[in-house]
């Protein structure tokens, strides 16, 4: 039985045009093809600057491709996120497509716990249950309880990163994009994140990740995908 891919990247090209710098064009990748099935964790490879993050952001709908499409399996139907109307992109992100970035976009004054439960509340989970799940997850990630009611803006990089991970893993997104989720974590916390990823994979989540840490990469990758093969002609 051929399983429908959770992500299908179709002939994707991305060229940045910098209008305010003499309309310079910077080609990133060309005619890129990639399929990710449920239960797969595809790790993007290639030296830095090759466009791994650009690809990830394009899959998320954050960057607009120059041509091609990105089909995300949403409610059993592949939807081209690069052409979907904004409300549908937001809907796909809310229910299907999670994204763990390297950096947490901190919102002043919103407490850690509120930040973590937000994806659950947006999906109609009751506050009580959402809090319980958040507490379990934050405990697993060993974030000190004293931090929970504080906004994460003053946290260390590693602490912020764990808040970010909690926020993304609190509900099981069917598709997850991981952009260096373990970058600023120590070994023990890296291991916890690896466990979280593997648990999600076992449940059938599809993932695309960028990991510079080879141990983590080897622990979670089902295969590698070399972005540099699709490098745009200069």
């Amino acid at each position: 039985m051929t399983q429908e891919p959770a992500i299908r990247v179709d002939d994707l090209s991305k060229i940045f045009t910098l209008h305010n710098q003499g309309a310079t064009s910077i080609g990133v990748f060309e005619s890129l093809k990639l399929e990710v099935k449920p239960g797969e964790c595809v790790v993007l490879a290639g030296e830095s600057g090759v466009g791994k993050s650009t690809l990830m952001r394009t899959i998320y709908g954050n960057y607009l491709p120059s041509s091609g499409g990105v089909f995300v399996l949403h409610d059993g139907v592949p939807v081209d996120i690069t052409k979907a109307p904004p409300h549908q992109v937001l809907e796909i992100r809310r229910r299907t497509l999670g994204y763990v970035s390297q950096f947490l976009r901190v919102i002043p004054r919103v407490s850690t716990l509120d930040l973590v439960i937000e994806p659950l509340l947006e999906n109609g989970v009751a506050l009580e249950e959402a809090r319980e799940r958040a507490v379990t997850l934050l405990q697993a990630l060993r974030l000190p309880e004293a931090h929970w009611d504080l906004p994460p803006s003053t946290f260390s990089g590693g602490e912020q990163q764990r808040v970010n991970i909690a926020r993304s893993f609190i509900r099981g997104y069917p598709v997850l994009l991981l952009d260096e989720p373990t970058a600023s974590l120590d070994a023990a916390n890296r291991a916890i994140v690896v466990d979280l990823i593997n648990a999600a994979l076992a449940k059938g989540a599809a993932m695309v990740g960028i990991f510079h840490d080879h141990d983590v990469r080897d622990a979670v990758a089902t295969r590698l995908f070399n972005v540099s093969e699709y490098k745009a002609a200069a």
Binding site: N20, H87, R171, G172, K203
Partner: protein
């Protein structure tokens, strides 16, 4: 802890819903000077639209036309009202349009003096929309006022103070409560945090963001502040010289701007 098990939510139902607002080929000339030119877009229930651009780009003209304050030179503005369904707001008779504005809309002004009655207490300012809708039970309205004042995090002991005795940030909170108490379908916000200190601004934005999420509110926010646009808006329209030069998902427009003017606008934001 990561079961894919969520309750069904109402947002999917809105996918099939009629648009809340449909603006078609809207043009406004002041004499021979163009205010905004040939603007078309749709809004859905629960959507937050940001209109960004520098002073003179036509964003205020657009807002005034859409909110029924300024008749456009040509084009139409259709709104899905509770009473009339989807109608061109300028086809409605004046009393019907005014009633629709009272029932279905809110308008948060940049300057609280434009949006509040400075001679009556904060509490009465908040309760007024209910009285305008025909509510005549003081006790019920007082309770609703108190609920909303606490929702916008104002000291309930000051409910009977006049707006001038409140700080700018608190005045803006009163204005927000006044514009949400009657459960509007669409709220217009014109630089809602414009005249405030940065710290006050941040707190107010949090509050607005929370309310918009909790109430599933549709809102049109006019701002020149990219940070406000990112925090509040689902979708952005970038205006320049009366035209919409770029439109799309808010984070896409801000992170991967396509139009030269948007690129300039985004790159001009100071980093701290």
């Amino acid at each position: 802890m990561t079961d894919i098990l969520e309750r069904p939510t109402s947002v999917t139902a809105t996918d099939q819903a009629a648009p809340l607002l449909r603006v078609s080929n809207l043009t406004k000339y002041y004499g021979h000077v163009a205010g905004c030119l040939d603007i078309s877009f749709e809004m859905r229930p629960g959507e937050v639209l940001g209109i960004v651009g520098e002073s003179g780009s036509g964003k205020s003209t657009l807002l005034n036309c859409i909110s029924g304050k300024l008749a456009p030179t040509s084009g139409s503005i259709a709104f899905n009202s509770r009473r009339h369904g989807l109608v061109d707001i300028y086809d409605l008779s004046e009393p019907d349009r005014r009633r629709m504005q009272r029932e279905d809309w809110g308008f948060v002004h940049q300057n609280p003096r434009d949006g509040l009655r400075m001679r009556v207490s904060g509490g009465a300012n908040v309760a007024e929309p209910l009285m305008n809708l025909g509510r005549r039970h003081y006790g019920d309205m007082r309770q609703a006022t108190m609920d909303w004042l606490s929702r916008v995090e104002l000291d309930l002991g000051r409910v009977d103070d006049k707006p001038r005795n409140f700080s700018g940030g608190m005045q803006q909170r009163i204005q927000i409560a006044r514009n949400l108490i009657h459960n509007p379908r669409l709220v217009f916000m014109d630089e809602p945090t414009g005249g405030l200190d940065v710290s006050v601004q941040a707190r107010l934005l949090d509050l607005l963001r929370e309310l918009v999420r909790d109430l599933g509110l549709a809102a049109i926010i006019v701002t020149h502040d990219m940070a406000v646009a990112r925090l509040m808006a689902d979708r952005l329209m970038v205006m320049k010289g009366g035209h919409v030069v770029e439109t799309g998902l808010a984070d896409q427009v801000l992170d991967d701007p396509q139009h030269p003017y948007t690129q300039l606008l985004v790159s001009s934001v100071l980093q701290i």
